[in-house]
């Protein structure tokens, strides 16, 4: 979706606010939010792509106002309701409904090290022929999906060079919407800075964007 989250190339966001000796979390609720998101993610009810899309659905004014972990807790509540893990009434009241369904067991403290060490790889060992070759000139398609996509607006319609083939990965545009993983080749595509931004960009600079087969067409 052409949301405010897709902010590469925008102006007017102000200077970068650097904090020296920044703590990992600025408040305990941030730490609790972080942990809740991962503990609830371990139920396997939504892929990371769906979480990202849920964050993108936060209305733009609020998206810009909210801190990172405010976006997370907002998205988590919505995902849990959609997945049927909690009801909206339960989120509002903070109390379990009487006939609340019970799932078990929750992520245990013993499972945490393994979860952190394994993560959630999204490469897939399935046969999928690459549509493009390293060194080939390609064009990012000029598409504007209304759902989740990882093709940033600033790259659409632009010419680049295929720098590296990373292999076969889950396709976020379908994965986020429960439409299957549609595994396909993922590439690093090099765009000259001037192709993206015109003469104001430095002549030798470049932006590398990770793009799937379905985002590309032959140049």
């Amino acid at each position: 979706m052409n949301g405010v989250h897709d902010m590469g190339g925008m102006h007017g966001m102000g200077p970068i606010q650097y904090e020296k000796n920044e703590p990992v979390f600025h408040a305990r609720w941030e730490a609790r939010t972080f942990a809740l998101l991962f503990a609830m993610g371990s139920w396997g009810k939504w892929p990371l792509d769906a979480l990202r899309h849920q964050i993108e659905l936060i209305p733009p004014a609020e998206y810009l106002r909210m801190s990172y972990y405010e976006k997370w807790i907002t998205a988590l509540a919505e995902l849990m309701v959609k997945a049927g893990l909690v009801t909206r009434a339960e989120v509002e009241s903070g109390k379990p409904a009487l006939a609340s369904p019970q799932l078990s067991p929750a992520l245990s403290v013993e499972q945490v090290p393994q979860m952190v060490a394994t993560g959630g790889p999204t490469n897939r060992d399935v046969p999928a022929a690459p549509r493009f070759r390293t060194g080939q000139r390609v064009r990012a398609r000029n598409i504007h999906p209304v759902g989740h996509t990882r093709l940033p607006r600033y790259a659409r319609g632009k010419l680049g060079t295929l720098a590296r083939d990373y292999g076969v990965f889950v396709f976020p545009d379908t994965s986020a919407h429960d439409l299957g993983e549609q595994p396909q080749h993922l590439y690093s595509v090099r765009f000259d800075a001037r192709e993206l931004w015109g003469e104001q960009a430095a002549p030798h600079d470049a932006v590398y964007v990770d793009l799937w087969d379905d985002y590309l067409e032959p140049a």
Binding site: F34, A35, L36, L76, S188, A202
Partner: protein, 211 residues
């Protein structure tokens, strides 16, 4: 319409607006429903506050400086080379290391959200997740770097890596001069988080610089 009415227009915001209260209520609900175990939450927090952080990445960088064969493996297959040091996993499942040289400077961003190589750098700082950094790094990387105090000469090629997929990028910074005599451990102590994101260069020992 009064400000009070306006607050109630936000139908999606069905929980208290103070995030600390919202999170507390949600955690209590999920614990009561047995959907989360508080000890597991504590362990997750402890992992990222005390165990997984930029010191992991610094050890990878120091090993690459000290050991040319390791550096080759790191640039060719980062996942395997990083696993040699015992790191990897969550938000570092698919790592790529990009090398800074006198001619090339690499900078990592995620314009669409806040993707970051947790397994080697820990959780990202607020500025990395902020709109100013995400919006400008791709269109004006040299301006962003100047804001970090880094002025790159025009002949240096700036490569910006926008983390739009699940590949996570780590910058291998240039080894500072005057460090030839240092042990791998002492080298690791010189490596800053910012140098591994690409917003800073490393200064020779004793010349300062920020985290």
């Amino acid at each position: 319409m009064s400000a009070h009415d306006h607050d109630h227009d936000h139908a999606h915001q069905a929980v208290p607006s103070d995030p600390a209260l919202r999170v507390k209520a949600l955690e209590s609900l999920l614990v009561e429903k047995k959907l989360v175990d508080r000890a597991a939450l504590d362990a997750l927090i402890d992992t990222y506050e005390h165990k997984v952080g930029p010191r992991n990445g610094a050890r990878v960088v120091a090993r690459a400086w000290a050991n040319p064969a390791y550096k080759q493996r790191l640039l060719a297959d980062a996942d395997a080379a990083i696993a040699e040091l015992g790191y990897g996993g969550l938000q570092g499942e698919h790592m790529v290391v990009v090398e800074n040289t006198p001619r090339v400077h690499n900078l990592v961003v995620c314009t669409l959200c806040s993707c970051y190589p947790w397994a080697v750098l820990g959780l990202p700082p607020v500025w990395y997740k902020s709109a100013p950094y995400r919006s400008r790094s791709v269109i004006d990387p040299r301006g962003v770097l100047r804001e970090f105090g880094l002025n790159l000469p025009p002949q240096v090629e700036v490569r910006v890596w926008d983390s739009t997929a699940e590949v996570r990028y780590l910058v291998l910074p240039e080894r500072p001069s005057g460090t030839e005599h240092l042990s791998e451990e002492a080298l690791a102590a010189l490596v800053t988080r910012d140098s591994m994101i690409g917003v800073a260069k490393l200064t020779p020992p004793g010349q300062g610089g920020r985290s």
